[in-house]
């Protein structure tokens, strides 16, 4: 039935059809198929990506207040959470305060404070940083640790981005 309809259409126009029936149905099916793929793919992508946007929001932090951190003893350090990442707050023996991101710039392990050697050490590949500036002094790290600004308040310590 369709076949004869196509033939008569050809006759009326008196010329070759714009597109063969096969080509038309191929375009049609590909188009519809792509619509379905998008209609399924988009929700699935959004579903899987859902926590990423929340994590990005959590990172968008400019300062954190650490209650009672002002009681930290001299010559010791504490870890804190700055957005999604770990940070380290050091109270030096000379009563200066330093805070920096505790993520090693080499391969993202978390660094530790070693009071007796007065260094920040990354146990993964032996990276060493300066405890006052965060400068990379030994081992594989390519860059210094990112330093934060520290304000000591009467009941807390406020750490903020520089």
């Amino acid at each position: 039935m369709n076949h004869s309809a196509e033939h008569s259409a050809e006759k009326i126009e008196g010329q070759e059809p714009l597109m063969s029936r096969r080509a038309f149905s191929q375009v049609l099916f590909t188009g519809v198929g792509m619509c379905y793929a998008a209609a399924i793919g988009y929700p699935v992508y959004q579903y899987l990506a859902s926590p990423i946007s929340r994590a990005s929001e959590a990172v968008a932090v400019n300062q954190v207040s650490l209650p009672d951190a002002n009681k930290l003893e001299k010559g010791s350090a504490m870890m804190f959470k700055f957005g999604a990442k770990p940070g380290i707050l050091i109270h030096h023996a000379d009563d200066t305060w330093v805070a920096m991101e505790a993520v090693c710039t080499h391969l993202a392990c978390t660094v530790q404070y070693q009071a007796e050697q007065n260094r920040l050490f990354c146990a993964c590949h032996g990276g060493v940083y300066d405890t006052r500036t965060g400068a990379n002094v030994a081992g594989p790290p390519p860059k210094p640790l990112q330093a934060y600004k520290v304000t000591v308040e009467p009941t807390s310590v406020v750490v903020s981005k520089v």
């Binding site: 379905y36 929700p43 699935v44 959004q46 579903y47 899987l48 990506a49 859902s50 926590p51």
Partner: protein, 359 residues
């Protein structure tokens, strides 16, 4: 381009034997007659199983069994983007799969497709049906809301009523004396590991047998001389029609899932009384209602015991029907098998309807 493709195909074919697969797929033909419509329901069941696997995998990304179960399902439903849709699709597709499986089973039964040489097709199908119902039962608990809590509590009273070993079995399922987070944890293990592990091999045997023996034709067609029987090749003709129906199934499922999103009830609370009007999922309604009726007629343990016995006997008869009505002729046995099927279907529908009427 096409030359490149065909030489690539040749390279792969030489090593994997794809041509043999195509030959195997092409060997089968599907009979064409006025009842051909019923041949599609196995394929539709398969489609919903695939949907279940994929949506289940997605839910697995955020679901947390144990004490956190309810909270994680609440997050999936209200906080994760499109989480409600994935969950709703999983729940709707589960129900549609059970429905498709039942239609498939009864159509196979009435078309007498269980007869020689397809007995194992019937038996593997029965195993798949039981696994499918266990999927439904175990999955229903996972959100750990009020309804799932009581449904599981009631459901486990059925094995608990078995003589001697009953309480022991029920406690093993519960992981304790009451339905608790222990139960969710082990139902989760059942639902996502043990049941798929059993289901998939049986499914492959089932599909392989269909391919090997081809679709059975109905008795009234068998009476016709060979040259009057019509059939189409499975590959690609029937497969294309199969896929067209899959597309319809996908559309129906997506519409249901998005227009009627599956809800989540109040969190399960062991101290709260059961909400009024609580009832099992529709595919357990028949069994539920029969037990209730028998319990009214024969009070106490006798009613429950009797119910379970009748049910088990019926299932055994149903399972072994190919051994009773196994030949291609319309004798007394064939007619009895048909009457038995009609009776089973009638009881199933009537008790289900009754169950909903007395809610």
């Amino acid at each position: 381009m096409s030359k490149l493709m065909s030489s690539l195909y040749g390279w792969v074919d030489e090593r994997l034997g794809l041509e043999e697969l195509v030959k195997f797929a092409k060997k089968k033909t599907v009979p064409q007659h006025q009842h051909s419509f019923w041949y599609y329901w196995g394929g539709i069941s398969l489609f919903f199983f695939i949907v279940q696997s994929l949506t289940g995998l997605l839910l697995l990304v955020y679901y947390r069994p144990g004490p956190d179960a309810y909270e994680s399902v609440r997050q999936i439903t209200y906080e994760i983007q499109f989480g409600w849709l994935i969950r709703s699709a999983h729940a709707w597709s589960a129900n549609l799969m059970v429905a498709a499986v039942f239609i498939h089973m009864f159509s196979v039964y009435f078309m007498k497709a269980y007869r020689y040489p397809r007995e194992f097709g019937w038996w593997t199908g029965m195993v798949l049906l039981v696994l499918c119902l266990l999927f439904g039962f175990s999955g229903y608990l996972l959100p750990m809301d009020e309804l799932s809590y009581f449904a599981t509590k009631v459901g486990l009273e059925i094995p608990a009523a078995l003589p001697a070993v009953g309480p022991w079995i029920a406690n093993l399922f519960r992981g304790g004396l009451e339905v608790s987070e222990q139960t969710v944890q082990r139902f989760f293990a059942l639902h996502v590991v043990l049941l798929p592990m059993l289901f998939i091999p049986f499914l492959f045997i089932h599909l392989w047998l269909v391919q090997k023996h081809g679709n059975a034709t109905i008795p009234s067609e068998m009476e016709k001389p060979e040259y009057l029987r019509r059939s189409i090749p499975f590959f690609p003709n029937f497969l294309m029609k199969d896929l067209a129906l899959w597309l319809i199934a996908l559309n129906v499922m997506s519409l249901l899932a998005s227009i009627f999103p599956w809800e989540i009830g109040e969190p399960a609370d062991a101290l709260k009384p059961a909400p009024t009007g609580i009832h099992p999922e529709w595919y357990y309604m028949s069994a539920f209602q029969m037990l209730k009726v028998l319990g009214n007629v024969f009070p106490g343990a006798l009613g429950e015991g009797l119910g379970i016995t009748i049910f088990t006997l019926g299932l055994i008869l149903w399972f072994f029907i190919p051994l009773y009505d196994g030949k291609h002729e319309n004798g007394v046995k064939a007619r009895n098998a048909t009457y038995f099927g009609l009776l089973a279907l009638f009881i199933l529908i009537a008790t289900t309807a009754w169950g909903y009427m007395v809610l």
